[in-house]
Subunit: 235 residues, 2 copies
Amino acid sequence: MSIKGLFPIDKWDFKSESVLADLPAEDFDLLTAHQTEQVYKKGEIIFREGAYPAGIFYIKAGKVKKYKLDKEGKEHIIYVANKEELLGYHAILSEDRYPDSAASIEESRIAFIPKEDFLAVLNQSPVLNRRLLKTLSHEFAVLANSLSMFAQKNVRERLALQLIVLREKYKVNFKPGMPVEINMSRDDLANLVGTGRENVVRVLTEFKESGILKTQGRKIIINDVNQLIIIADYK
Amino acid sequence: MSIKGLFPIDKWDFKSESVLADLPAEDFDLLTAHQTEQVYKKGEIIFREGAYPAGIFYIKAGKVKKYKLDKEGKEHIIYVANKEELLGYHAILSEDRYPDSAASIEESRIAFIPKEDFLAVLNQSPVLNRRLLKTLSHEFAVLANSLSMFAQKNVRERLALQLIVLREKYKVNFKPGMPVEINMSRDDLANLVGTGRENVVRVLTEFKESGILKTQGRKIIINDVNQLIIIADYK
DNA sequence: TTTAAAAATTGATATATCGCACATTTTGCA
DNA sequence: TGCAAAATGTGCGATATATCAATTTTTAAA
């Protein structure tokens, strides 16, 4: 039985809404009453898997990778979070430790909100409750997608898909109509796709030869997203 | 940098708490006021990915697989849900369609709760809100684990891990101390591990020869869980 | 601008696992 | 209980990907 065409890849929802949007002013003020802001340099760690959470983070500017380390210390990137996204709330809600680590992949400005404030607002705000439930269940769907993609697609197809997703995330840095530059190390890209650096380079070269994209040093500029969609969705 | 030993696999939390436990009687009664019960035969589909949700499901007895289909119709099992677990609430909370499909893997007795009742209780019950947030964020952690496991472990290691997890789920069917029988088709097992049936059979044979387990027809009886833990955690 | 260190790229080889074809066993139904 | 269909198990060639080593390019600091 085939469900071909039921969920074409170009209809997927890559964008994540801000959890804090539409929050009543009263709740928002209470939530941000004791926030402190910090600039994280590229590569700086925000929190570590296994640590107990002291609060949540709100990305005001920049990009953050959420990742897990295997026993040899090789990292696998689970998600790239963009500005205006909330970070580190899973650990508090699950009453457990951080399930993953977070580090900035470019210089980022991030606000810290103490656990007490977050829980206080959570206890009084139906809107925040509803919004978090929506966000979490949406995240579940995205993660489930990634998981089955991993089981069913090869490196070439996975890289194509990640490039499409990353293009959306880097779009916000550029004017509409301008070509979008993905500025990410091959190592991070490899850890996101779940393969080695060398394999990413090889597939990237292949894409370059097909005219799908071009590279300028570390930067990747996508010329033909449709071609990527076809590749990612092929199997 | 190594985090060796930080999260030994035998300390992982495989069990999922019932979302409905500790729910105030009032909320529970309202939630179950219009529930209807149905017996699903082995293999019967409960809901399909992409459909709009009409309500949620509560597994009273049996086991259910949550899965996604690729374009050729090959399924990838994301999760095996046990009795006393809630099903299908992601779609309602995310205000979207089902992100995956669900089907029984053994004869199951399942209650259906209409969407309206679920949302009504959600609007009035802080306990249910809190519990759902906890469950969803826990699910996220479990899924993130699966994802990074996929990226970093081979078929042998993944199968070992899934056998450990399944053993926990099948435990409830047997008396303490009695050997636990995992009764699952090789196809389902392969779709859970993310490989082909043949590869599962090959690794299973290998495990059998090492005295880790034995098989009786379709049934798998684990003799040496510790050995499995070592294998799953090896890399 | 120069230069050293870091990152990216290319090549070659080893290895896991995929997927087909076929044999065997088990299961459930008449 | 017997039988057909379904599920399981086995062998093997093809292939994608991992891994190691060496080279080139880029980056960022002096």
